[in-house]
């Protein structure tokens, strides 16, 4: 079923919308959740919560990219759950590794108390991503938005594992330089 048709079901408040969404994007959302949580049960719960959130937000929202819209919800839910588990000293290390990598992007001047607003940070990151070549941008997003592992990314694009690592290393450096040039504090 096309996305437009699924969205029409949401707007008609037809519960088939959930069924069709599950059918089309169930594994997609589960994949995002599992990359963050590495736990089947927790991932399933996040995906189910995603359908509920989607049902509550459509309408009035009518996303242009339904998959991205759903994926974003799943990502946020999954990461929130991960933070809760981390606070309880539970959970696996893959997410820790990604955060360690992202920590390399933190500008050196991030020692004061005055932090950049979240919206501004989002804007700057978008601005940065648009300066990147398509290939580099894709690799960065697969790693830090979709939380995919290096091997999966390499397989997706048909490149070597080391190439992925090299590209991400360079991009993190560029992001750090960019944020520093903007004089922001995280």
């Amino acid at each position: 079923m096309k996305d437009t048709e699924i969205l029409d079901l949401y707007f008609d408040r037809d519960e088939q919308a959930i069924v069709q969404t599950q059918s089309k994007y169930g594994s997609y959302c589960f994949s995002i959740a599992f990359h963050i949580l590495h736990d089947q049960e927790d991932s399933d719960e996040c995906v189910n919560d995603t359908w509920m959130r989607a049902w509550n937000s459509i309408p009035p929202s009518r996303p242009e990219h339904l998959n991205i819209f759903l994926g974003t919800i799943t990502r946020n839910l999954s990461f929130d759950r991960w933070k809760r588990k981390k606070a309880q000293k539970r959970g696996s290390g893959e997410m820790e590794l990604e955060l360690e990598e992202l920590a390399e992007c933190i500008p050196s001047n991030s020692n004061t108390e005055e932090q950049v607003e979240a919206a501004e940070l989002q804007r700057l990151i978008n601005e940065f991503l648009k300066t990147l070549p398509e290939k580099e941008c894709n690799l960065f997003l697969r790693r830090y938005w979709y939380a995919e592992e290096y091997g999966e990314i390499a397989k997706r694009y048909g490149v070597k594992l080391n190439s992925v690592k090299t590209s991400l290393f360079r991009t993190r450096g560029k992001l750090k330089a960019f944020l520093e040039s903007q004089g922001i504090v995280i």
Partner: protein, 338 residues
């Protein structure tokens, strides 16, 4: 990682939530990144298929045309032969327009004389026809030869170009094979790479004792002097057609104190003509050693790194890349080697 860093990293991760959906949608496509070399090979094969196919079609069409012309020629001859036979017979029977008329116009003469005139007429007509056909055949033959010559010269030209390209590609491959093979780095470092970061001494040790001049520049650079390697590297840089950057950017990168400089010296101009000639002989490409002129500055941008050629030096500036495995991988990625 301390808690503050973790919190900051979390903020960054969460900020990615607002990424433009178009960028995310683009990343969803499983676009295989075709290495440059494989792309060139595929493009060359495609063009070759097109060229061969086009030539084949042309040849077949030309052969068909020739066959049709010859067939027309033979049938015309055949017709003329038939006409002459019928003309001889038609003197009496009246078949064929000219022969019939000739026979008719001589109706008042004796039958023998009329027959003779008719035969002569027919023979003349046949001769004329034969002559015309011969001229036509000659014309067609010349035209066909002209076509053959054109096709042959086109084929020769194509073969020459292919041979030239193949030769150049073979040369380039051999430089690549040398420069980026494991042996090159092994000869340079003695290992597959140096893993210690911000440790110039480790790099110094890696290069020393390998028969190459080693020098530190600004405390965090290593220079290697090998004229042959320099010539090859410069040729490879040209072959890769790397994007150039301004001299100011190169100088900025060089003098930042944060970068490591990997310099490869060529033989200095006039300093050692013998080794220069030896380099030329070795590399098989005059442009390699001849292109390095003292005082000339040329800068190349290598995927964010900067290569600066200044006279007899080539600087490869690595942004915090102390691991030569990463350098090797970067360059392999660029030239599309698997």
């Amino acid at each position: 990682m301390d808690e503050k860093k973790t919190d900051q990293a979390i903020r960054l991760f969460e900020a990615l939530e607002g990424v433009d959906p178009e960028l995310l949608a683009r990343s969803e496509k499983e676009k295989k990144i075709i290495p440059f070399r494989r792309y060139v090979r595929a493009a060359a094969m495609f063009l070759a298929v097109i060229a061969v196919g086009g030539l084949g079609i042309y040849t077949v069409r030309n052969a068909g045309q020739k066959a049709a012309n010859e067939s027309a020629m033979y049938s015309a001859q055949d017709n003329m032969a038939k006409k002459s036979i019928s003309g001889n017979a038609g003197a009496s029977s009246g078949k064929g327009v000219s022969n019939g008329n000739a026979a008719g116009s001589y109706a008042e003469q004796s039958a023998d004389e009329a027959a003779d005139w008719a035969n002569a007429e027919a023979a003349y007509a046949e001769e004329r026809a034969t002559g015309a056909m011969e001229a036509e055949m000659n014309g067609l033959r010349e035209e066909g030869e002209a076509y053959s010559d054109t096709a042959a010269s086109a084929i020769d030209s194509r073969n020459a170009n292919e041979a030239d390209s193949a030769s150049k590609e073979k040369q380039a491959l051999s430089w690549k094979e040398y420069a980026w093979s494991g042996d090159f780095f092994k000869n340079v470092t003695g290992t597959q790479g140096v893993s210690e970061k911000s440790d110039a001494d480790a790099l110094l040790n890696a290069f020393e004792g390998k028969g190459m001049e080693v020098e530190l520049d600004g405390g965090n650079a290593v220079k290697i002097a090998d004229p042959y390697v320099a010539a090859q590297l410069y040729t490879l840089i040209n072959a890769l057609q790397l994007e150039s950057c301004s001299a100011e950017t190169a100088a900025q990168k060089k003098g930042s104190g944060e970068s490591i400089l990997l310099s490869i010296y060529a033989a200095e101009d006039g300093a050692d003509e013998a080794s220069g000639a030896q380099n030329e002989e070795k590399s098989g490409a005059g442009e390699a050693s001849g292109a390095l002129n003292t005082g000339e500055i040329e800068t190349f941008l290598l995927e964010g790194k900067v290569l600066t050629k200044n006279g007899s030096e080539i600087y490869l500036i690595l942004d915090e890349f102390y691991d030569f495995d990463i350098l090797k991988n970067t360059l392999e990625e660029m030239i599309g080697e698997q």
